[in-house]
């Protein structure tokens, strides 16, 4: 597909006319764009060290901000604890149809057999390349009552779960079903938004793909469009749960 509309060069030239300037780099470079990969790497290493020293503090902070943003935060201590939390949710919603992504966390905590024993039907996002499989999967997601995902990061500053797109991860699992459960490993908790962007920038400047869809989830879906009255659960999930795992 070729580019439509005004050709780029003409569009940009007209902007330069408006600004009364010539083509070229900004006179002053903004610091963060002239950072070298090496610098970013140093910063990231420092960040990792400081985060690792403060996992408990970050966990406490995240629990507080997440709850304030509408997450239900749980601290299960073992596999049994995780299954208890999920089973409570299925009972509350009368829904045993679960879809989950295929993220690393599920290899550490394999919840499938436990959930099957509880009578749940679990669909896993299969790492497929077949179009028919994808269509079927989409239908499964649409009909499930609960979506379970991992988290690439969680942000203590904002109470957010951050998910990066990749194989085995459908964008829809965390937005289509009425309930979303996120499994967060404590070592993935970051302090602030700046931390997330530092790590993403480093990865990007190391030559890795930015990924098509970096997604921050901060509480349930909501609106205040009628009389500025808050209603929870419009197009996305009405209830969201965050499980913090050691």
């Amino acid at each position: 597909m070729k580019n439509l509309g005004t050709p780029k060069d003409i569009f940009l030239e007209s902007i330069r006319d408006c600004l009364g300037k010539n083509e070229g780099q900004p006179v002053i470079q903004r610091g963060n764009l002239s950072q070298s990969t090496w610098e970013l790497q140093q910063l990231s290493e420092d960040l990792r060290l400081s985060l690792n020293k403060d996992i408990d503090g970050l966990t406490t902070k995240l629990s507080a901000t997440a709850e304030a943003r509408g997450w239900n935060v749980h601290h299960p201590v073992n596999m049994e604890g995780i299954l208890d939390v999920i089973s409570e949710i299925t009972k509350k919603w009368g829904s045993t149809d679960i879809t989950r992504t295929d993220q690393e966390v599920f290899y550490e905590y394999s919840i499938d057999s436990g959930l099957s024993n509880l009578g749940c039907k679990i669909t896993t996002i299969a790492r497929t390349d077949l179009q028919e499989d994808r269509i079927r999967l989409r239908e499964d997601i649409i009909s499930s009552g609960i979506g379970i995902t991992g988290a690439d990061y969680a942000v203590a500053e904002t109470g957010s779960v951050v998910i990066l797109p990749r194989k085995g991860l459908s964008r829809l699992v965390s937005v289509v079903p009425p309930v979303h459960i996120a499994l967060v490993r404590k070592q993935d908790i970051l302090r602030s938004l700046d931390d997330v962007f530092l790590l993403r920038r480093l990865d990007y400047h190391l030559g890795n793909d930015m990924g098509s869809y970096l997604n921050f989830i901060t509480g349930p879906s909501r609106t205040a469009d009628i009389e500025q009255t808050i209603v929870i659960g419009v197009h996305g999930p009405k209830e969201v749960h965050m499980l913090l795992l050691d």
Partner: protein
């Protein structure tokens, strides 16, 4: 382009002030969103807030001064990620680009998440004339689409409607029993639109920010409709103004802190989605094509005028509307076009025709509350004065003119504060401030249009008469003319 009714400001605002339903709907503007904004600032401290504002302003200043450079960087990186960037100088060209994409991809159903620029373009009408079923999916936008109106607020488009009005609208248009329970109405919208999301071929979104460094489009939403629009259909078109670009992801953090707090007092919205190109082959889902349309449509005018340039720093948070004594009285529709409130009074005359919008720069008491509230510290009152000056004495920069306007304004402001009665206030805003430009009695002689004329939003915009190819050729020619 969406129909322009800026000429009707006086009559429209008089109607607005006398409309009891609108009064009721506007009642909460000052306490609701603005109250929440103040609380959010208190929570993090004034000093911190000020630090963020200064940083954001510095980023915007730098980016706009080097807009060509960052748009070029954006272009390179969107392309690298497999997306397409199209530049549109005006509404016709932008609509022609969308039309071309719709035809080439056999689009039947489109879902839209909120985009003020698409309102500017009158895009829904264009899509409908191409036979596309188009659904607004943000609850507020869905309401006004059903009502055939335009947004009356940057953040809450249906702010002018009471729940009772929405309930009657749903009863009327959707054939469901009247129920003014807000939760039930939201549920109705969810049920109806769910299907549309999943069957749409095309998702259209605006953009809150564009990140040059990574070629990303950022949308900030609460309902989840933005995520569905940009994930479920096979094609995603993002349409936005050229001023939305920021240099790096690191800069984004500052704006993510400022925008939700300024808009609704939220620390962060429920969702922030950062879209970089179409789905990759390894992704399980997401659109196969990603198109980004970058629109000028009159923004150049503000870019070229150093006095008005900072209007392009606006992040459309709505804080200046919520706090504005004029907006609080007349609501958004009186402003006559897409962008209401104090910032609208600057942007609208520049994106449309100043001479037809000459009341807007006067629709302010210059009390300065907007500048105080603005997260980017945009000097709205100064720009309003500049526009007034231009209207009084075109092509003159004489200081005396601006002094003159300022004096008038200062006097009116004192008067306003002494008489806070709603109707009186409204009348004074309309008569007091307008006086220098309206000979006695003009206001009352303006025929007041039936309510339907100014509450009904716009007629279907006409499709461009020219073919896409002609428009492109013409624009090339124009540009050569300009350069030559």
């Amino acid at each position: 382009m969406a129909e322009i009714k800026t000429k009707n400001f006086l009559a429209s605002s008089q109607m607005a002030i006398k409309d009891p339903q609108l009064r009721q709907a506007l009642e909460k503007v000052g306490t609701g969103f603005d109250g929440a904004r103040r609380e959010a600032i208190e929570e993090i401290s004034e000093a911190k807030w000020e630090e963020w504002r200064l940083k954001a302003r510095e980023i915007k200043e730098h980016t706009i001064e080097n807009l060509d450079y960052y748009l070029d960087m954006l272009y390179t990186n969107v392309t690298k990620a497999g997306g397409h960037v199209h530049f549109a100088r005006d509404d016709n060209e932008a609509n022609a680009i969308v039309s071309k994409l719709v035809e080439a991809n056999n689009i039947q159903i489109a879902t839209k998440s909120k985009s003020m620029v698409s309102e500017e373009l009158g895009l829904n009408g264009v899509l409908e004339s191409l036979g596309v079923d188009v659904y607004e999916t943000d609850l507020g936008e869905y309401i006004i689409q059903l009502a055939g109106e335009t947004p009356s607020h940057l953040v809450a488009p249906a702010l002018h409607k009471t729940k009772g009005q929405v309930a009657s609208l749903f009863q009327d248009k959707l054939g469901i029993p009247y129920n003014e329970d807000i939760e039930a109405m939201a549920k109705t919208a969810r049920e109806i639109l769910r299907d549309k999301f999943l069957n749409a071929d095309l998702g259209i979104s605006g953009a809150n920010f564009l990140v040059a460094e990574t070629g990303s489009l950022v949308i900030i939403t609460n309902e989840g409709n933005g995520r569905l629009c940009t994930s479920a259909p096979r094609i995603h078109i993002g349409i936005t103004g050229m001023e939305k670009v920021i240099p790096s992801l690191e800069d984004l953090a500052t704006f993510l802190r400022l925008l939700p707090r300024s808009a609704t007092g939220q620390r962060l919205t429920s969702y922030v989605s950062i879209v970089t190109g179409p789905r990759r082959v390894t992704d399980e889902d997401g659109p196969e094509q990603f198109h980004l349309i970058i629109v000028d449509n009159g923004r150049s005018k503000m870019l070229a005028d150093p006095k008005l340039r900072e209007a392009l720093y606006c992040i459309r948070c709505g804080a200046c509307l919520n706090i504005c004594p004029v907006y609080q009285k007349v609501g958004g529709h009186a402003y006559g076009w897409v962008y209401p409130g104090p910032i609208g009074s600057i942007v609208t005359p520049n994106l449309t025709v100043l001479q037809n919008a000459k009341d807007l720069p006067f629709a302010s008491s210059l009390c300065g509350a907007c500048r105080e509230a603005c997260p980017i510290k945009i000097n709205i009152p100064r720009m309003l004065l500049n526009l007034r000056e231009e209207l009084v004495q075109p092509n003159s920069n004489a200081n005396s003119t601006s002094k003159f306007s300022e004096d008038i304004a200062a006097k009116s402001y004192t008067k306003l504060m002494k008489h806070p009665g709603i109707l009186k206030l409204g009348t004074m805003i309309l008569t007091g401030l307008q006086k220098p430009f309206l000979k006695g009695g003009v206001i009352s002689s303006v025929p007041i249009p039936p309510l339907s004329i100014w509450t009904r939003s716009r007629d279907l915009p006409k499709l461009p008469d020219k073919t896409f190819h002609q428009i492109w050729k013409d624009s090339l020619k124009d540009n050569q003319d300009n350069n030559g």
